[in-house]
């Protein structure tokens, strides 16, 4: 009934219709881009007005800041106990700039990709770009809640400019209806992801900003970002430190021995277990062999001193007084063997699963051809689990630089410090128990980077030689 409609309503409807008409002449993602850009400009304008007034409100820290970014009032700081004052503005800007440049490069690449391949959805490079922008955001947020004290909110408008640019190319919906449909269908999932992602951001990415401590002076009570720069001083210091070199050597020795002696044990055990034909006995054996895995390193160390001590079970049994735990050379082997003792049974599970996956017809065919037990193992079982062996070897190589803090801490004792103190112990002694935080951070960074290089190097090598690899 058109007569019942008021002129106002009519005109409103017309006006709205007009906007809709204008909007519908462009593709959906262009519209989103326009709206996004306008929002960003408004946001920026507000910021600059705030700056003009001499105070502004930081959304993330709930602080009111003056023009020099000093806190005037409020803020999460009061709860987190940071120090007010942002002394590293230039650094912050520089890092953001680098991230921007990378993001821009990725964006350009993604555009090229987009045009050449006509991807409808987000392309590989686009993911990269988004990740970098996300990192910039996270970085900014971390600086806000972390050690730095205050933040510079005025870079956020710049940052947010990237969102519309991204949507320009990657907005995957071609109509409002589809967008609404998507949101209606999936919004719950994003809500579900908030808590776990917050955990990951705070506790896994959060510490990464503090890696900078390695490049800063050792003002160990200061917030990391406020410390003056030290360059590579502490890396040089570490490599001139005999204790560190010793720790480095110990790490390599223990890890290599561990791989050489420990790595084959579960493989052999798994093959033997597979050969075991007494069902009940096999099950009991497995239960008992897995058991040591569930004892903590503190308990294992306790058991070790009891069994391997000078008057322990083993020495009594042998009628000797071998210093298993007090002589450095003996200790190294005790350490490795205790590790094998704890992990051997558990390590078989993964190989047993792989062996179960081997086609039994292969064994039957080989048996018909006259192959005996050893040849069956050599020609069928081992090749059948080769992929798993390679995978675990890659992971083991990735762990060469050490991931056994609890183990080594529990098993070391003053008589064998010379061979037992690995990089992690060094880091702990100097950085947490001691006061040489920068040195410890430098050593820790060195350790992480070498670990990653080893892992991916091993993976690359495995792939080169035709294995499936890790990633």
């Amino acid at each position: 009934m058109s007569d019942n409609q008021s002129p106002l309503h009519q005109s409103n409807k017309n006006r709205f219709g007009k906007i809709e008409e204008i909007f519908s002449t462009f593709p959906m993602r262009v519209n989103v881009t326009i709206v996004g850009t306008v929002l960003v400009l408004v946001f920026s304008l507000l910021e600059w007005v705030n700056m003009g007034l001499g105070v502004r409100f930081n959304l993330f820290t709930l602080q009111i800041l003056n023009i020099e970014n000093r806190v005037v009032a409020g803020g999460l700081e009061e709860y987190f106990g940071g120090v007010a004052g942002f002394r590293n503005f230039k650094l912050f800007m520089a890092i953001l700039l680098i991230i921007f440049v990378i993001a821009m490069v990725l964006l350009v690449l993604s555009v090229i990709k987009y045009q050449s391949k006509r991807f409808r959805s987000l392309s590989y490079w686009g993911f990269g770009a988004i990740i970098f922008v996300a990192i910039a955001f996270i970085f900014a947020i971390l600086i806000t809640i972390g050690d730095a004290g205050t933040t510079v909110l005025s870079v956020f408008p710049l940052l947010t400019l990237f969102a519309p640019i991204l949507t320009m190319f990657f907005f995957p919906f071609d109509s409002l209806a589809r967008l609404m449909n998507y949101v209606k269908r999936y919004w719950v999932l994003y809500i579900l992801l908030i808590l776990p992602m917050a955990q990951i951001i705070i506790f896994r990415y959060g510490p990464m900003i503090n890696i900078l401590a390695a490049f800063k002076e050792n003002f160990f009570l200061w917030p990391v970002l406020d410390r003056p720069w030290a360059g590579l001083e502490f890396f040089v210091a570490a490599f001139n430190d005999p204790t560190f070199l010793e720790a480095f050597r110990n790490t390599l020795v223990l890890s290599f021995l561990e791989i050489i002696m420990g790595f084959p044990v579960p493989i052999i055990l798994a093959i033997l277990l597979n050969e075991l034909r007494l069902r009940k006995f096999k099950r009991v054996t497995q239960t008992i062999l897995y058991l040591p895995h569930f004892l903590s390193w503190a308990i294992v160390a306790g058991i070790a001193t009891t069994v391997l001590g000078n008057v322990g079970l083993l020495n009594n049994f042998l009628g000797t007084r071998i210093p298993f735990l007090t002589d450095p050379t003996h200790w190294i082997f005790s350490y490795i063997i205790i590790g094998i003792w704890k992990g051997m049974g558990w390590g078989t599970i993964i190989y047993l699963a792989a062996i179960t996956g081997i086609n039994p017809e292969l064994y039957e065919a080989a048996a018909v051809d006259g192959a005996k037990r050893f040849r069956l193992i050599w020609h069928i079982t081992l090749p059948g689990i080769r992929a798993v062996i390679v995978l675990l070897l890659i992971l083991n190589i990735g762990g060469i630089m050490g991931n056994s803090f609890e183990r080594i801490m529990a098993m070391r004792n003053p008589l064998v410090f010379r061979v037992s103190d690995v990089i992690e112990v060094f880091t702990y002694n100097r950085g947490v128990a001691g006061l040489q935080q920068s040195l410890a951070a430098a050593v820790g960074l060195f350790q992480s980077i070498v670990s990653v290089i080893l892992l991916f190097g091993a993976n690359y090598f495995a792939k080169k030689t035709g294995e499936r690899g890790l990633l």
Binding site: M208, T287, Y290, I303, T326, E406
Partner: protein, 289 residues
Amino acid sequence: MNLNKSKTGDVIIVIVFILLICICLFPMMNVFARSMSAPRYLIRSEVSLFPRGFNMDAFEIVWSDSKYTWSLAWTAILTFICTIISLVLTILCAFPFVYKGLLGRKTLNVFMIFTMYFGAGMIPTFLLMRSLGLIDNPLVLILPASLSIFNVILMRSFFYGIPDSIRESSEIDGAGPFKTLMLIYLPLSKPVLATISLFYAVNRWNGYADALLFLRTERRWDPIQLLLFRVQQNLTAIDVTQFETAAGNAPTEAIRMATIVIATVPILLVYPFLQKYFVAGVTLGSIKE
């Protein structure tokens, strides 16, 4: 099916495993035996696999020491809380990945997996805990380790194994993602839920690295394993200085053994019944990597 396998080979394998069982069990039996033996046998270190001069004095001493009882109770509470929180976070993190159409799914995946291969390290983590005010705070034992990416992948693999058609039919019936999770996915994934809670529980019960790093001066929140660790450290110090009389202090020795036994028993009690869940978890993880 006889695969040309000789009987002697079988016998050798059985003997090897009997030896291995001995190697696994004897150290533990020795500890149990020592914790229940009379001091006079301990001093002469004449206790091997079975208790001699059976008595439970050491256990009574440990039970009456509030340091140990509180630590045990606190670790039990902590394990319970951590397991619940971790399990919820893991489910929340794993479930959205089931939806193939989720925007940003791959990005989030890379974002998550990256942290498996590159960690910030001890000092940066320590500094973060300090700036968050978590040093000497019991929360430091709960929050930082509350999500294991490996377990998320494990749970996700299991979720992937549930046919999409079940999910789709529930959505046609009008259930949203949350309802689908609660009414369809969780009831179907009881085994993997058991596995993952056990992984979290065992890790929390056995772990003490975080406690060692982040509980600097406050001793109240020490989990039992850290307590054991400290006892062990003190002991090795004594052991080294009084070289010849390592087992000289028999009551201390028995008490130490008793604490080890007490900290082990909960795991020994549940382990045989839950073994299949642990094994299932490792197997699932190995297949879907």
